[in-house]
């Protein structure tokens, strides 16, 4: 398998000294869907824009589709599809006119009828962009990225701010693109999105990759696949909790305690017994599968989203 993207020792320091990217190495194979997952300001967009040839790195080596920025720009651009974060397309153009404009730049062009159909925009083809909903705008932005029939698709926060239905529609579009064995690189701060779409994920924090692997592997690295979250009417000693059977990790979030456990059916009865002995009342108890969010929390002690 050849590599769609290869970067080594990528660094970007902005004027003013902000170190947005501090040494990122990535190797992304052809046909892979790769996700950069991290909180806002982690350096995801800077990394992606360097890979897209829109920013030049302060240091490091980048190869995209086996070519380099600075020598083969136009050749690479013909084979890339890009959707940036927050591009405002011209409000007064129709969906179809916008796609014609973007199509005119490329050597190979998708059939617009088929593309509009795939993106669920056939009925909106004659509508001005200003009349589109958020989800439709985002699908149009992705359609503009697909119009040149790219081998490699970059999507920067493709579903941020969308309602759940629009998000699912876009996921279907991305899955359909992947099904043609082409490469996708997306950034997101939704762990669910990364888990559902990506073959591999790089978790990024403070400009560095802090974990890399398939979503399953990363969750498996926690050593336990379930999370038991509970609150009580008073203090409970942490060491007693950590000593419960099946508990791999424990941390507090305000009033709540989170236990990462291998088998909830073993841990929960023991937990209830412990609380009874201590004379504490449960005010809340939930269990769920561990997610990439838990991976991020266990690595950084913080949450992906601060909103």
């Amino acid at each position: 398998m050849s590599l769609a993207i290869r970067c080594v020792g990528l660094k970007k320091t902005y004027d003013g000294g902000v170190e947005a990217v501090r040494g990122v190495d990535l190797s992304i194979e052809e046909g892979e869907c790769f996700g950069l997952l991290g909180p806002n300001g982690a350096g995801k967009t800077t990394t992606v824009e360097i890979l897209e040839g829109l920013l030049s790195p302060t240091a490091g080596d980048v190869e995209v589709l086996g070519r380099r920025w600075g020598t083969d720009d136009e050749e690479i651009r013909h084979r890339l599809g890009v959707s940036l974060q927050e591009t405002k397309l011209s409000e007064k153009l129709t969906v179809e006119e916008t796609l014609h404009l973007f199509a005119s730049f490329y050597r190979t062009r998708r059939d617009l009828e088929v593309l509009l159909g795939e993106m669920g925009l056939l009925e909106k083809r004659a509508s001005h962009v200003e009349k589109l909903s958020g989800g439709q705008r985002q699908r149009l932005a992705v359609a503009c990225a697909l119009v040149g029939d790219p081998e490699l698709l970059f999507l920067d926060e493709p579903t941020t701010g969308l309602d759940p239905q629009s998000r699912r529609q876009l996921w279907d579009v991305i899955r359909a693109f992947r099904a043609t064995r082409r490469t996708v690189m997306l950034t997101t701060h939704y762990m669910e999105e990364a888990e559902r779409l990506c073959d591999r994920v790089a978790i990024v924090d403070h400009g560095q990759v802090i974990a890399l692997g398939s979503p399953r592997e990363l969750i498996a690295r926690l050593g336990a696949e379930h999370v038991v979250e509970f609150s009580t009417d008073g203090e409970v000693d942490g060491t007693a909790l950590a000593a419960l059977p099946g508990v791999k990790a424990m941390h507090a979030e305000g009033e709540a305690r989170l236990l990462t456990v291998t088998e909830p059916h073993v841990t929960i009865p023991a937990l209830l017994a412990l609380l009874k002995d201590l004379g504490r009342e449960l005010t809340r108890l939930t269990t769920r599968h561990a997610s990439l969010e838990d991976v991020f929390v266990s690595l950084t002690g913080r949450h992906l989203r601060d909103d």
Binding site: L54, E74, T87, K88, E97, L101, S104, F105, Y106
Partner: protein, 344 residues
């Protein structure tokens, strides 16, 4: 190398966007017409205005009133001294005459109409009293078509419109696209810089042709302003002017990151030309030491060339020096823009 398809699509997109924006259509096409209509009416050629004379009530006042009223150049009224003083102060009366024992003229020597009134009034009164001309003159009055204010104004408005529409149409549009990250999105495609810039500037040609046609036709139909030379000449100048100001707009927009910045820069660049370049009044009115600067401004070059071909029927060849000046501005601005341009 500019590929035809991207060039055409960007150009088409620009035209569609502009024509679908009612404000742009209004400011580009109708505002100049309204302005020329308003100014043309305000400064239309009127029969010579009467000189308003206030005469202080008293002995001899009625006699002077009768003398002046017999002459159609004067409007004379007798009033109380207070009223006369008030009218002079407000500028309604050009001069106050007090005829008691002698004859007294009261007027402000810094007011041109008062100075004129003093001469005319004195002449009429002296003649009525029996003064004879030592050397009787003959008179011949001349009213040259093409020398009215509206004839002066229409070419100036065309020039001003080419400037503001060119600069806003290119400069503002580019900064708007930059703030919307649309420029950055375009760079992420295989579109070439030259295709984009050429299409942006070319979009000005089509608008220019419409603007110019409207203003010339309007001036002709409403005010009888004639193009005395070849009709082709103003359009050739329009092309050069549109290119020059599009390049200037491009240069201003190379780095500006915000709409506020570009608006400020636009005003900074255009304001001196609005004032000095002879749009509403002749640039010759400014002192000699300022003339080298004023004559080098692109709008002065364009306005003077437009007046020469429209009002005086000059050939386009005779405007070579001015065209050369505009060309120099264009080349400098465009070259600098290509070097300095930032996509994001």
């Amino acid at each position: 190398m500019i590929r035809w398809a991207p060039f055409r699509e960007i150009l088409l997109a620009r035209m569609r966007e502009a024509l679908r924006e009612p404000e742009i259509v209004f400011w580009a096409f109708f505002f100049p017409l309204l302005l020329s209509l308003a100014l043309g009416i305000a400064f239309r050629n009127k029969p010579p205005e009467k000189v308003y004379v206030a005469i202080e009530r008293g002995p001899g006042a009625e006699g002077i009133r009768a003398t002046l009223s017999a002459d159609e150049r004067f409007m004379a009224e007798v009033a109380s001294p207070d009223e006369c003083a008030r009218q002079l102060r407000l500028g309604k009366a050009a001069i106050v005459i007090a005829a008691g024992s002698g004859l007294e003229y009261r007027y402000d020597p810094t007011r041109p109409d008062s100075v004129l009134a003093r001469t005319l009034v004195d002449d009429a009164i002296q003649r009525a009293a029996g003064r004879k001309d030592a050397r009787p003159p003959t008179e011949k009055t001349v009213s040259e078509p093409g020398a009215r204010y509206i004839d002066f104004l229409i070419p100036g408005l065309i020039g001003m419109n080419l400037m503001s529409a060119g600069m806003w149409g290119v400069g503002f549009a580019i900064v708007d696209m930059r703030t919307r990250k649309l420029l950055k999105r375009l760079v992420a495609t295989p579109m070439r810089k030259s295709e984009f810039l050429a299409a942006m500037i070319s979009s000005r040609f089509l608008f220019m042709a419409v603007e110019l046609t409207l203003l010339l036709a309007f001036g002709r139909l409403v005010f009888g302003v004639e193009v005395r030379g070849s009709l082709l000449a103003p359009f050739l100048l329009g092309i050069v002017g549109a290119l020059t100001f599009a390049s200037l707009g491009l240069l201003i927009a190379t780095r500006a990151q915000r709409i506020e910045t570009i608006s400020g820069l636009m005003n900074l660049v255009m304001m001196p030309m609005f004032i000095f370049s002879g749009t509403f009044f002749s640039s010759e009115r400014f002192p000699d030491y300022a003339q080298p600067f004023i004559q080098a401004l692109p709008l002065t070059l364009l306005n003077d060339a437009l007046r020469a071909v429209i009002n005086e029927g000059a050939s386009i060849a005779s405007q070579g020096l001015r065209l050369g000046g505009l060309g120099l501005w264009m080349v400098i601005c465009f070259t600098l823009s290509l070097r300095l341009f930032r996509w994001s």
